[in-house]
Amino acid sequence: MSDILAQVATNTESNKNAGNAILYECVLTIMAIEAIGGLRVLAINILGRFLGNRDNNIRYVALNTLIKVVAVDTQAVQRHRTTIVECVKDSDISIRRRALELVCALVNESNVKTLTKELLEYLKVSDPEFKPDLTTKICYLVQKFFPNKRWYIDQMIKVMVEAGRFVKDDISRALLLLISNAAELQGYTVRSLYNAFQKWDGQESLAQVTVWCIGEYGEMLVHHMNELDGEEPVTVTEADTVDVLELVLKDFRASSTTRAFALTALLKVSSRFPSCTERIKALVLQYKGSLVLELQQRSIEFTSILSKHENIKASLVEKMPVLDEATYIAKKVDAADVAFSTDSKSVPATVLPAVPVANGPTKSKSGTNALMDLLNLNVDEASTPSAPQTRKSAGDVLLDLLGGNSSFTSPLVASPVQGPSGGADALLDLLSIGNATSQTTSSPLSTLEPFPQRNPEAASQKPSNPVPDLLSQNTVSSQKDSYSSFTADFKKSSIPGAGFDLLGDLGIGSASSISTTGPVYPPIVAFQSSGLTVSFEFSKQSTNLPATVIHATYTNTSSNTYTDVIFQAAVPKFMQLQLEPASGNVLPANSSGTVTQVIRVNNSQHGQKSLVMRIRVSYKINGQEVLEQGQVNNFPPGL
């Protein structure tokens, strides 16, 4: 058979279409029988000859077949590379498409530079319907075969300048990833981007990348850090950087995502270049009433930071830690896990200050814990004290405030925690933010209390607060006992957000039904003093043994009426505690009335340790404050 094929192939004259048809059929047959050696070389030579034919049909057919051949034998096709690149510029669109595909299949490390150069040249003159394909292919090539990072960045900048509109989001994210990983090139990158930006024409990807880099590495731009050889020095003042950002913000072609990038970058720049803060404030303030919720939210948050929280601003917008590529890729695949995936992608973790794996004596804020816990309704972890604490540091409260998407950087373990925290921030923001931060003082590790303890008194203390503060975001006192800290003194705390309250309500409201289907325990008298009796009744669901619902009843055994009764409880670290609002805060004298409250306890070491609790009750007699505290040790075993 190979003899016949060889004979036919050599003897057929190819000036007529019929002859070419026969030769083409021969080639197809040779490929189909997967011949090796001379016969295949013959076939590829025929195809090469076809490529040089002036007839479009023949060239089309040749390109089509070569795509299949290149999978089998790349070397042989490399010889015809120049002809193929010529075909990319042909007038017939089907030939162009086929040639482009073939070129991409032919690229390897050695020829990628020349090929990319040619393709970029062509990109400038190609017609608009072909540009998206060409751009995607060029980006793909560059991404796969770049010999060094500097070249990669250069090519990507060129592509973005030429055809920024067609560069897809994930390509620009990958570029940002690479830039953050290449510490020595960051200065060079931001300077080249600045130069390229002078020719900006509304390309979205260029705007996003430039804005992000200026935000992160602005000081390298202004102070000429890390200059590489052969770089022309360019003088950029701080005002220039803000100019760039302003330009992007004001341009009508910028999408909301780009504007969101720009707002974040403005915040970062204001921390790096304090001289421009006033101007930046004015710029950010303009978006306070924006119809796009994301922009409005950011504008208000950032304005608040810029005006009231100067002290934490610096730690907030420190340099981002190096984005981990493997995590990024895993996250991309897993985008659904992140609570605010679209947002988080567009705000590449702007606010994470320190390296996430800091396991030291981290300061956790019960305020943020509470917020996170609010949304732990959706996430099942919740009870690991270690996870959130690994990522707490000075700016943490604000980290949560500003929806730090730490999905890129934190180890995957902590990611479910950040989901809710991202969510918490949005909620926080929704319902007036900011004050939380000013009171939280440092405290030792505290347990995650699923719902912070409510305080009915707070409502009466703060009549100006329209929504009674049910979730008091309170600081923890600095008792260093083995128990977790008490919830704080309400006088000190100015309640941060009405927001928490609404949601606290939501959360607790949903779980308010008490089921008594579980094992039954006898009620106990938890605490007794000369004026006050506290008794507990227990119920437990058989399906959820570690959780117990306690009905607490307070009785006033003295002859004075108690007003402003506040009950507080604390539990050791292996337990979690939730207090629901008490039925009232006035205890009439001589046991004539009672106040009840529902307490939910979750014992993560159910079966191994039994419950213990410290309680503290404060109340007023004729305006005089009285405080009583004690420990409840007589819980029935097995709770």
Partner: protein, 161 residues
């Protein structure tokens, strides 16, 4: 295999269709509409192969008529071009310098010739001479039958006079 053959004019009027694959009436009109819409605007320098619904359509323009054939994606397109040319040459030889008018007024003959050349979507007769001979034989049979009809009617007319 060839799935269908389609002939249409520059104005988009269909002159001949032959279907070798099952296409319902609706699908047929849809295919015709799509293809004429896709092929008519193409410029002269573009190549003659179009991808359509996973199949290839090979077309060739002769004067004011477009000859289209839809083939499988593995088939040889150059071969299909040759088949189209083969068919046109036979028509040309039969009608003598064939033009579109010939096909409009003698479309039944065009179908006869096509059925000689293609069967079930494959090339059946690659010799122009054989096709010409066979079609000529058919024509002479038709003439003889006409004559017979004419003479019969003469006899009947005479008989009933």
């Amino acid at each position: 295999m060839i799935h269908f053959v389609l002939l249409f004019s520059r104005q988009g009027k269909v002159r001949l269709t032959k279907w070798y694959s099952p296409y319902s009436q609706k699908e047929r009109t849809k295919a015709i509409r799509e293809l004429s819409g896709g092929i008519l605007p193409r410029g002269p320098k573009l190549c003659n192969f179009v991808d359509w619904r996973g199949l290839k359509v090979v077309y060739k323009r002769y004067a004011s008529l477009y000859f289209c054939m839809c083939i499988d994606s593995e088939d040889n397109e150059l071969e299909c071009l040759e088949i189209i040319h083969h068919y046109v040459q036979i028509l040309d030889r039969y009608f003598g310098n064939v033009c579109e008018l010939d096909l409009i007024f003698n479309f039944h003959k065009a179908y006869f010739i096509l059925d000689e050349v293609l069967i079930a979507g494959e090339l059946q007769e690659s010799s122009k001479k054989s096709v010409a001979r066979v079609i000529a034989a058919q024509d002479s049979m038709v003439d003889a039958a006409k004559e017979q009809m004419a003479s019969l009617s003469n006899i009947i007319a005479q008989a009933t006079r």
